[in-house]
Amino acid sequence: MSEIRLMKGNEAIAEAAIRAGCDAYFGYPITPQSEVMEYLMAERPEKRTGMIVLQAESEVAAINMVFGAAAAGKRVMTSSSSPGISLKLEGISYIAGADLPCVILNVARGGPGLGTIQPAQSDYFQAVKGGGHGDYHMLVLAPASVQEMADHMPLAFDLAFKYRTPVMILSDGVIGQTMEKVKLFDQMPRSTEVPQWAVCGNAGRKNRIITSLDLDPVKKEQQNLALQAKYQQMRENEVRYEKYLCDDADYLMVAYGASARIAKKSIEYAREKGIKVGLLRPITLFPFPSAVIAELAKKMKGILSVEMSAGQMVEDVLLATRQTPQVPVKHFGRYGGVVHSPEEIFEAFLKHFNLG
């Protein structure tokens, strides 16, 4: 039986990790996501499922523990917030380069630098364009509710193993700290299967090598081509999004995570005034729902991209709509830790499209 609870996003994702059969969590505390490890520690998952939870000495240590456990074929994860994710990027690039699965949660906060502890969405570029060095991507999921924080956890592990890739769950301080009703899925067993590529003792068989290094550029290029083919597969098969009131819409908002929720409220205001606005909410940020946005753009008078940043996702919206240059694409967002209100989004919408 599924179980209903009132939980913070951070708590829901921690509970979901245990239930999804996660083998190990390695992390280092940082606001606004410290509840993830606090919850895991309090739950004693080593007693519930045998899952290991360990506070590392730093973010860099945590991601390299993830690297090691992933190489052994385990379902393993870490979590942090913006400055901590920056520290993990070297490890993430190595994990992507070594074709290993893992899940990384970013409960984003304002930046740059040490920034602020309040919510932001200014890590979009870092999440979807690679972030670390080299031609790699993570598959990026963007939960917009406490329910999705829980539901994205098993999905993230499945996708990570399907593509042998790091999957990022890109959340923010609003979704992490807000409590909502959540229906928890039942406990899944931890996997006992050892993947064909895992390094876990080679008695009786040929050794397997996991590395991101190859000094032969021709071979390295081949490996890069294989990575790119994998990303193409993701673009073809893994695009996820939610369409909200798009059928009769004359205008479109594009927003993910907390901004999508706030934008929905501003759409209520618009519709009360008889202005037909819809919302396209990307659930995967990489791969980005470009095709559906391109299709929707054909019947729109204007598109407003809403994100708690100076304008990052709007670049992908612009790329998606290059076949419809007559449709203006604008950006709105407060950032640096300020969360925009539904009223501010609505006012920006009216101003950008000369409707006020």
Binding site: V174, Q177, M179, K181, I262
Partner: protein, 178 residues
């Protein structure tokens, strides 16, 4: 029905827990709920606030700047949130420590002397339940039974002997709101 509420006061007054109990009560009544706190340095000795939404339909934004009801427990919060109440909405405040009273005429203003009454009853800690009772008298969106069920769910079992005291405070709050 959607009720959008801000609860604001000093850190330590039980602002966040009052919101949590209200949210839990909503779940007991099969409603959609959202509870979004202010977090960070604001919470240490300064002001604390939480946005609580109860609705019979899916909740869009957990982030709001205009509210159906503001429940106010100190002067700073009154100064900050009086203007955020929607016209026709409710402002409920505890007059302990309030020197500049609310002045709007387009909203319904109610007072509950919960701090004083809870002290008289010898249980100052349940003052927030008294305020919650006052609110539920004005806006009976959840039943007393569901509040107690919600409280039971949010309290660890070792505190369940306090349920009766909390229920008494809740009912006293309903009686003294003006």
């Amino acid at each position: 029905m959607t009720e959008e509420i801000i609860i604001a006061g000093f850190g330590g007054q039980g602002v966040l827990s009052m919101g949590k109990i209200l949210a839990y009560s909503g779940i007991m009544q099969d409603m959609e709920v959202s509870w979004m706190p202010s977090y960070g340095p604001e919470m240490r000795g300064g002001t604390a606030n939480v946005t609580v939404i109860l609705s019979d339909k899916e909740i869009s934004s957990p982030v709001l700047t205009r509210f159906d009801t503001a429940i106010i427990l100190n002067q700073q919060s009154l100064d900050k949130f009086e203007q955020s109440v929607k016209p026709g909405g409710i402002l409920l405040y505890d007059n302990n420590g309030i020197s500049v009273k609310p002045s709007r005429t387009d909203i319904k203003i109610h007072v509950v002397e919960a701090t004083a009454e809870a002290a008289r009853m010898g249980s100052p800690k349940v003052f927030n339940m008294m305020v919650l009772g006052a609110y539920l008298k004005l806006r009976p969106i959840v039943t007393v039974d569901n509040v107690i069920a919600g409280l039971k769910k949010s309290l660890p079992a070792r505190h369940h002997h306090l349920l009766d005291e909390n229920k008494a405070a809740l009912i006293r709050g309903m009686e003294i709101v003006a």
